[in-house]
Symmetry: C3
Subunit: 160 residues, 3 copies
């Protein structure tokens, strides 16, 4: 007997998260663009209710742990954008394809993968094996609004 | 009564721009690659007639305003590459999907979105709502040839 | 009379390279993800038998030449990942579409294109004109595990 996976929304709730409102872009671009079954999502920063969860450089101004949580918030925001792209909300997401993760850090920091896991692990928690994705995680000298992390995303949607 | 949108080429001219020659890559790669209806465009730097419009780091060596104009030049170069991919030139472009924008800056600069708008606003001016795209804009410690900005692009083309 | 191009695997051998084992991701993500005929490959660092070929910043800690070789190793690792995605191994690769190349460097270094050529030239050597791709090459303040280069890749595969 197989147990069915809970819905992505239920998985989020079980983890103690509520899908935020999709954040508005901070400049002249759109949050998401659909091409066939693919949806590209703009780089997300860790805004929560309009305020950055953390500000500054990893690890001297923002700890690796806080940056991990910030990466997760970026991912939550990306999920909110994705959900808004489908009439079925998160259930419309077929799989996560790629994350691009930029970590604002000093020149000695080499823990970008650990920070980016904040975003990656959320995807697997919410979507199971369909949430597993490819990834590029790199250091950045500075990011918009002094965010410690920025995450962009590519996903495949179920046909409407 | 509806007014028809002017052609992308006309829009460019109305803005006072002339489409440049598609720049040659500065190394072992190609300017564009087509996969089905999508065209990927290599990272463009703000070359104009073979010379960089500006050189160096934002904001101490290159002002935010100059970097905005440099980003627009990168975008113009990307449009030149796109136009060369279609027998219809710019009219062959169906929509702009994504821009990746890298800004050479110091560790205190957080205005990457404002700089990237130089590229993003051109796209909307030229293509209207089809020019609106997703975007990732990040800081970079240094860029090829000491360019202040590099812009890569993904577009969807009309079938030939 | 036309001469047939040697197979990608033969081309690699002729160049003196052996396809490595596909490296395991260093965190919570997968090496490759297939969407239709496209395969996205995660950012690769220059691991060879589990050890980085070089460590540190270009050019003071890692010479431009060593970084070029490191970029080639990243590309070899990406090819190993691609080969594992097809029942035909490297012969299953139809074309290389895009490379994203991040070079860990100081703020004065502007030779990212020369470093990235280590990856780009390998693709052309192995796949001929199908190996030619678009590219974004940028500087990065720091990279995972202190790698001097990280390379991500997008390729199109032959239908299985």
């Amino acid at each position: 007997m197989t147990t069915q996976r809970p819905s992505p929304k239920k998985s989020l709730l079980d983890l103690g998260y509520v899908l935020p409102e999709a954040p508005s872009p901070v400049a002249s671009y759109v949050p998401a663009k659909r091409v066939g079954d693919l949806v590209y999502v703009s780089g997300q920063i860790p805004l929560s209710d309009g305020v950055l969860l953390a500000c500054g450089r990893v690890p001297d101004e923002v700890s690796e742990r806080s940056a991990f949580e910030a990466a997760r918030q970026c991912a939550l925001n990306a999920l909110a954008v994705l959900a808004a792209e489908s009439s079925q909300g998160l259930d419309g997401v077929a799989e996560i394809i790629r994350l691009g993760v930029f970590v604002q850090c000093d020149s000695e920091f080499t823990g970008q993968p650990a920070v980016a896991n904040g975003a990656s692990e959320l995807m697997e928690s919410v979507f199971g094996s369909e949430g597993r994705h490819v990834r590029a995680a790199v250091g950045s000298i500075s990011l918009p609004l002094n965010a410690p992390v920025e995450v962009e995303l590519l996903a495949r949607m179920h046909p409407e």
